[in-house]
Amino acid sequence: MSAMIGHTEDDDLLMFALGLLTPEETAAVSAAVEADAGVRSRLAAVRSQMGAYLQSAVVLDEVPEQSLDRLMGRIAEERKVVPIGTPVRERAAAAAPTFGMTRGAAARDEAAAGRSGRVLPWVGWAAAAGLAVAAGTLYHERAGIEAQLEQRNGQVAQVSNETAETRRERDAMAASAMEQRRKIDELTAAQTGAQDALATAKQGEAKTAAQVEALRAEAARQAAAASGRATQVSQQAQQVSQLTAQLAAAEQQRSALQGQVSSQTATLASEQAELARLRTEAASAREVLDALTDRTALRVTLTKPKGKPEPTGRTTYVASRGTLVFQGNNLEPLAANKVYELWLLPADGGAPVPAGTFAPDARGNASLVTPRLAGAVAAKAFAITVENEGGATTPTMPILLVGAAG
C-alpha cells in the first residue's frame, strides 16, 4: 500500500471512500489526497460514481410512518433549546484560549515562588516584586477580563442583532405562513366550489340517466309491440301461405275434374253422334225396305236399244219420300276416271236432277241406294250417262240407258 502515496489507484480511492482501508492505508491515502489536487479530484469522481452506483443498485422502500413527524419534532426541539444554533458554541471554543492565559500566569507565580525560596535576603523585595508581579498579573487578568467583557458585550449586541434578525425572519415566516394559510383557504373555497359543481353535474347526470332510462324503457316497449305485430304478421303470412297452398291444390283438383268432365263430355258427344248415325241408318234402311216392299213403287227394266248382251237397269223410286234404289246389269266397264250417273227427269219437264253416281263391278252389275233425294220431284223418266269422276250437274251426252215411267 506504500505505492499509493506516489500512485494511488482509483480502486484504492474507492476503498478509501468506502472506509474499508486499514488505519495505515487510510493515513497514506489521506496524505496523497492532501498533497495532490489531481488525487483529490479523482477521489471526488470516485465518490460520484459511488453515488450513482448506490442510486441504481438500491430498490426504494417506503420510510416508516411518522418519520417526518419525528424529524420535524426534533428540529422544533432543537430550535427551542439553542435558538441561535452552533455559532455560540463556536464562539465559546474560540474564547477558550483566553482562559489558557490564566493558567500561564499561575505557572509564572510558581516560578516566582521558587525563586523567593532560594534567595532569602531579597525576600521583602521579592515579596514586593512578587506582589507587583501579582498586581501586574492581576492587572493583566483584569484587562483580560475587561477585554472578555468587552467581547461578551459585543457578543450580546451581536446576539441581540441576531435575535432581531431571527425575529424579522420569524415575522417574515409568519407572514409567509399567513399567506399560505390564505392560499389554502382560497384553494379550499375553490375545492368546495368545484365539489358543488361536481354535485350539480352529478345531479344533472342522474337526471339525464333517468331520462335515458325512460327512453330506453319506451324503446323496449315499442320494440316488444313491434315484435308482437311482427309475430302476428308472420302468423298471418303463414296462414296466407297455407291458404294459397290449399287454393293451389283445389285449383289442381278442379282442373283435373274439368279434364275428366271435358273428356266425358267428348265421349258423350261422340256416343250421341254415333247414336244419331245409327238412328239415321236404321231409318234409311227402313225406308229402303219400305220402298222395296212398297206396293206403290214404280218398277222399270231398262235395256240397250241394240246388241247383246243387253245392259239393263231397274230403278225403284218413291217420290213422296225421295227414296230411290237403282240396280244395273251387263253394264260396260268404264275408264278409270269415269263414273255412271243416274238422272231423274222431272215430270214437269224441268232440268234433269242428278240422282247419284256409281261404278259397275266386274260382271257389269251395280246398285245405288239414295234414301232421300235432294229436290225430289215427280219423275217422268230416268236416264244414265257417263260422267267424269265426282259427277256433273248437267248430263253429258250420249244417254246410255233411259226408261220412261209408265
Binding site: 472506509g19 450513482a52 441504481s56 426504494l60 417506503e62 426534533r74 432543537e78
Partner: protein, 188 residues
C-alpha cells in the same frame, strides 16, 4: 420521483431546485426540510436499510443524516454534484459505521462529489443513472457480488477474498474492472 429520487427530476425541476431548498434551509425554513425529506427520505432510508436490514436502525441513520443537513445545510455544495448521490454515499457510510459500531469515519463536510454533469440537465442525469443501472445489470456475477460485499456489507478486499474463497489479487482486479465499467457508464 418513484424511481430516481433526484432533485433534478423533471416533475420537480419546475418547482424548486435542490440548491434553492438548501438555501431556504440555511435561512431556517422548516418547509424546505419537509420538501427535502419528501425528495430524499426514501433513498437515504433504503440505502441504510440495504446495509442494516433493520427498519428501526435504518430510520435512526436517516433521522441523523437529515438532522445534520438541518444543522449544517452548507456542508453540501450543490454546484459540485448531485444531492442524491451525495446523500446515498453518506447514508451508506453512516450505516456501515453503525454496522461496525464505530465512530463516524468521515464528517459530512468531507464528502464532496464531482459534478461531471450539470445538475440542471435533468434528462441527462437520469439517462446517466439508467445507463449505470443497465451496465451494472450486465456485470459478471462475481464482479457485482464483490461490489455489493464492499458497498453493503462493508467488506475489505481481504474480507471479500475470505468470503468468496478467491485470491486477494483476483478480488482487487474484479473491483477495479467493475469500477472501470462504472466510471465509463458515468461519463457516458
Amino acid at each position: 420521483m418513484s424511481r430516481n429520487p433526484d432533485a433534478s427530476d423533471v416533475s420537480t425541476a419546475g418547482i424548486e431546485t435542490d440548491s434553492d431548498l438548501l438555501a431556504r434551509l440555511g435561512r431556517g425554513d422548516e418547509t424546505a426540510m419537509t420538501q427535502l425529506f419528501a425528495r430524499y427520505s426514501r433513498l437515504v432510508y433504503s440505502v441504510a436499510l440495504r446495509v442494516l436490514h433493520e427498519p428501526s436502525v435504518a430510520e435512526d441513520v436517516m433521522q441523523e443524516i437529515f438532522m445534520q443537513i438541518w444543522r449544517n445545510p452548507g456542508s453540501f455544495s450543490a454546484a459540485r454534484g448531485s444531492l442524491g448521490g451525495w446523500l446515498s454515499v453518506v447514508a451508506r457510510n453512516r450505516a456501515i459505521d453503525v454496522l461496525r459500531r464505530r465512530r463516524p469515519t468521515d464528517s459530512v463536510d468531507d464528502l464532496a462529489l464531482a459534478a461531471p454533469v450539470d445538475l440542471l440537465a435533468t434528462a441527462e442525469h437520469n439517462v446517466m443513472l439508467e445507463r449505470v443501472r443497465v451496465v451494472m445489470a450486465k456485470l459478471p456475477e462475481e464482479q457485482r457480488r464483490s461490489l455489493e460485499l464492499a458497498f453493503f456489507e462493508g467488506c475489505t478486499h481481504s474480507e471479500i477474498a475470505e468470503r468468496t474463497g478467491d485470491p486477494l489479487g483476483t478480488v482487487k482486479t474484479r473491483i477495479r474492472s467493475a469500477l472501470l465499467v462504472l466510471g465509463k457508464a458515468f461519463q457516458g
